[in-house]
């Protein structure tokens, strides 16, 4: 049996909508998809934040593309750097597409109006960034296209402006909470997205032929993070709960230069412009670890070196618990014109003026390399090879995998544009030939029950307290360095937090703008995802990219040069994660580059 309705119907208090394409998320990836889809198919964008509040706007340093505007460069070098930077866990066919299509992606944005910084000739200017090199590692190369240190802000604004121009239909402050699957001939097919409207507390079902997830990352599983409060991995969590796999979740990137104690990011572009990391004695310690490219080594390496400097007693400050980012030699002019925002962050939040003093920094949880597995067409995979027709994912929530085990700086703004565009186009193409998958009876049931249970919950556990315990524990035991022992400890904590979560109580009983309720739901996603991250991390007994195991310090290509695929296969509340998570492997696509030792 299936449900009948007309677009715009309200049945039993639930709103029903019908679109060819529904995009969940209005960050860079979602809006880039919308710009392709909206002119060609009836498209809706569902977003829990006003589009311009999305965290793409926080990105600072730049977007990579081998334009060769300021020095010789080629997309092939870019591909190589991406593969090597990802410690050979990158799917090389995907990296090649990323690097090739980068050039048009940047030009598209310029043509849409993005005010890039310019060279004296009036072309798009480019700066250096970590891990991006000339001719396979010979020297740093200027590849990052940028707009001061607010490149992400300008991308987000430009994409939003073009969505306004095209009249894209946004459902702002609508929280997607479920993906509806309908069994058709024995196969689960996506048929709709169910969303909760913040302003009214009403539930909306969006039936669609194509559904694109572009919901961003989940840095809020950690305490110290550059990520927004709202980056709680909802989209990844929704897909996970449907029994679809998640790929490479153990790989989380810790960006070297977060403001100490706060996690607010200072772009790698600062080091691209010449800033230097120093320990307490003023030593430029990266010279010891990466003699060729020093401070511009990839992030996983720099973060580890920083933690090691501190662990070995060479940290700065009263507690010797951070290192210093020295920008003083760059001069006020460079700081004010090329790095104005981060200069202000240091002044505002630490009371430190980078023009005169070095800035206290430590690694901050920054980017999820893992996520919803897709192929290069942004189609979501249900296993190693089979796609889920009509379901797409792009941006930080997806894992293509172009970043492997460690993303290079400036490759994410690129990723969201290249694969956001691909997702939009392919979603339209699919919608043109497909028909709607019928809705099951009462498709809103799951969300209605979840919302009502939480809205009236009066248990003794507080959301804020549980979330803090999770984040503290993840920082302590699943951060830059991990061991089986530390991960075992987090596993236990997460298990007990998941049990306590069943007994939470919220205080806001209202229907309008009930953010108390939504924070409770978001915490549910965080707990689910943290469990997958840690479970996957315990299973990978090697060190690669962002995943550094103190007990297995070497990369082990023979056993582990493959992607992790995690599946929810049992009762999610069973005590032992092993009772409900099943891990499998997926081969890495290798085309031109055989794994080598990673030296810089």
């Amino acid at each position: 049996m299936s449900m009948e309705f007309q677009d715009g119907d309200v049945i039993d208090g639930v709103h029903y909508h019908q679109y060819d394409v529904v995009i969940v998320g209005a960050g860079g990836a979602g809006m880039r998809a919308a710009i392709e889809a909206a002119p060609k198919a009836r498209t809706a964008v569902i977003t829990k934040l006003y589009p311009t509040r999305s965290h793409t706007g926080a990105a600072q340093g730049g977007m990579a593309a081998a334009l060769a505007n300021v020095e010789e460069d080629s997309w092939e070098w870019h591909t190589f750097d991406t593969v090597k930077g990802g410690d050979y866990l990158v799917d090389q066919d995907a990296a090649e597409i990323l690097a090739k299509e980068a050039i048009d992606a940047v030009l598209d944005l310029e043509n849409m109006g993005l005010p890039f910084n310019r060279t004296p000739e009036g072309r798009i200017d480019q700066r250096r960034f970590g891990g991006h090199t000339r001719d396979h590692g010979k020297a740093p190369v200027r590849r990052a296209c940028y707009a001061a240190d607010r490149t992400g802000h300008m991308i987000l604004q430009t994409l939003f402006q073009n969505c306004v121009k095209l009249g894209v239909e946004f459902y702002n402050e609508y929280y997607a909470l479920d993906l509806v699957m309908t069994k058709v001939k024995g196969v689960d097919r996506p048929s709709a997205v169910v969303a909760y409207e913040l302003a009214t507390g009403e539930i909306h079902v969006f039936q669609a032929k194509s559904i694109v997830f572009a919901t961003g990352g989940f840095g809020k599983i950690y305490k110290t993070t550059s990520n927004a409060h709202t980056l709680t991995g909802d989209g990844v969590g929704i897909v996970w709960r449907k029994g679809l796999p998640l790929e490479d979740m153990e790989f989380f990137q810790f960006h070297p230069t977060g403001l100490a104690g706060l996690g607010i990011l200072l772009t790698e572009g600062a080091r691209g412009e010449g800033a230097i990391l120093r320990n307490a004695s003023g030593e430029r310690f990266m010279e010891r670890y990466a003699p060729t490219i020093k401070d511009l080594a990839p992030r996983d390496i720099v973060s580890r070196c920083m933690v090691q400097e501190v662990a070995e007693g060479r940290g700065a400050g009263p507690h010797k618990d951070y290192v210093l980012l020295d920008c003083t030699h760059l001069g006020a002019e460079v700081l004010e014109t090329k790095l104005p925002d981060i200069t202000e962050f240091a002044r505002t939040y630490l009371g430190v003026d980078p023009v005169y003093e070095p800035v206290p920094v430590m690694p901050t949880a920054h980017y999820a390399m893992g996520g919803i597995p897709t192929n290069v067409k942004a189609e979501v995979l249900r296993d190693n090879d089979t796609i889920v027709p009509g379901l797409y994912a792009a941006g930080e929530c997806a894992c293509v995998s172009v970043h492997g085990s460690n993303r290079l700086g400036t490759n994410s703004l690129l990723d969201i544009n290249v694969f956001g565009k691909r997702a939009g186009n392919n979603a339209v193409e699919y919608a043109e030939s497909a028909s709607f998958v019928p809705l099951p009876d009462d498709p809103a049931k799951g969300v209605r029950e979840l919302v009502e249970r939480l809205r009236t919950s009066d248990g003794s556990e507080r959301i804020g307290a549980l979330r803090k315990e999770l984040q503290d524990e993840m920082d302590r035991n699943a951060q830059v360095f991990r061991t089986d022992e530390s991960l075992a400890r987090v596993t236990e904590t997460i298990h007990s937090l998941r049990e306590r979560y069943q007994n939470i109580g919220i205080q806001d009983r209202g229907r309008r703008f009930n953010t108390d309720l939504l924070e409770a739901i978001e915490l549910g996603f965080l707990l689910d995802l943290a469990e997958v991250v840690v479970f996957s991390a315990r299973n990978r007994k090697e060190s690669r990219g962002g995943h550094m195991r103190d007990d297995y310090p070497d990369r082990d290509d023979a056993t582990y040069m493959k992607h992790t695929m995690a599946y929810l296969t049992g009762d999610p509340h069973s005590a032992d994660a092993a009772d409900h998570i099943t891990l499998d492997w997926k081969p890495v696509v290798v085309t031109n580059y055989q794994p080598m030792e990673r030296k810089y």
Binding site: L49, Y50, T52, R53, H55, G57, A58, V106, L107, E110, N111, G113, P115, N117, R118, E121, G122, R123, I124, A147, A148, R150, H153, M154, Q161, V164, K165, A199, A228, H229, T230, A260, G261, L262, I264, G317, P318, H319, D321, Y322, D341, F345, T348, Y349, L350, G351, P360, R462, I463, G464, A465, I506, Q507, D508, G510, R512, F513, N514, T515, D516
Partner: protein, 254 residues
């Protein structure tokens, strides 16, 4: 929160009273002011204080926020009578011998506690055609050429995060909700002065309207309120001049 290194270096926590204008549309007819005592460090932000209240005392306290470092524009509010971002206002920069008053921004319909309906604000923004209008495509299929000097002219107004701190601090906007308001003019400026744009005239005509730039009485509230340091009043003045004298030409070769 005490996460800040300078805090660990010896500053200690103290109790601050926040007085917040609460409004629940489902149970109240009028907003009421409510007091909360919170333990804070001088380097905490007002946003940290709001979170402490929400997470530890009263989960129903409602406000928008996301990035927590002044870049997403979610949390403009009136703090001690001035429009600011809660995430960019440090406790030590306020007079802590007095309670801190927090209320929603003015001039937009109040929804709940510190949340207002932003739709009228975005409607004005959309009206000024906030997107590059340029038919001419670069001949070599690459980027349009723009000199460093040409880009510099509108650099300031590209920083806008659409937080509405300016518009909702403007006395003209309070009395006349039809006025486009500073934020819309700032975003029009961003395109009017972009050498690549071909539709300056269209936008200048829109802003020459009776609800346009001429309503601005140069009170500078907007400039003081802008958390991005944009010279809002100056941008409005430049738009006024352009209406009178046309879009200035900036030579490409500078």
């Amino acid at each position: 929160m005490a996460d800040n290194p300078s805090v660990e270096a010896g500053l200690s926590a103290f109790t601050v009273t926040l007085i917040i204008r609460r409004f629940d549309p489902e149970t109240m007819d009028e907003p009421v002011w409510k007091d909360y005592d919170v333990e804070l460090y001088p380097t905490d932000r007002v946003l940290d204080a709001l979170h402490k209240i929400k997470w530890e005392q009263d989960g129903s306290l409602t406000f928008r926020r996301s990035c927590a470092h002044g870049i997403c524009g979610s949390d403009a509010m009136r703090i001690n009578g001035r429009n600011r971002l809660a995430c960019k206002t440090l406790i030590k920069d306020l007079d802590i011998t007095q309670p801190i008053y927090v209320e929603a921004i003015k001039g937009l319909p109040l929804e709940k506690d510190l949340v207002v309906d932003m739709e009228p604000f975005f409607a004005s923004y959309r009206e000024i055609q906030p997107f590059l209008i340029a038919d001419a495509k670069p001949k070599d299929g690459k980027e349009r050429i723009q000199s460093v000097a040409q880009r510099e002219i509108f650099d300031d107004t590209t920083k806008c995060i659409l937080c509405a701190a300016c518009t909702s601090s403007c006395p003209v906007f309070w009395t006349d909700g039809q006025y486009f308001g500073p934020a819309a003019i700032v975003n029009a400026h961003r395109f009017i002065f972009d050498s690549r744009d071909e539709a300056a005239k269209v936008r200048l005509d829109i802003l020459n309207d009776k609800e346009g730039v001429w309503r601005c009485r140069t009170t500078f509230n907007c400039t003081e309120a802008c958390p991005r340091g944009i010279q809002v009043t100056q941008a409005i003045a430049e738009v006024k001049n352009a209406i009178l004298a046309g879009k200035p030409a900036i030579p490409a070769g500078v």
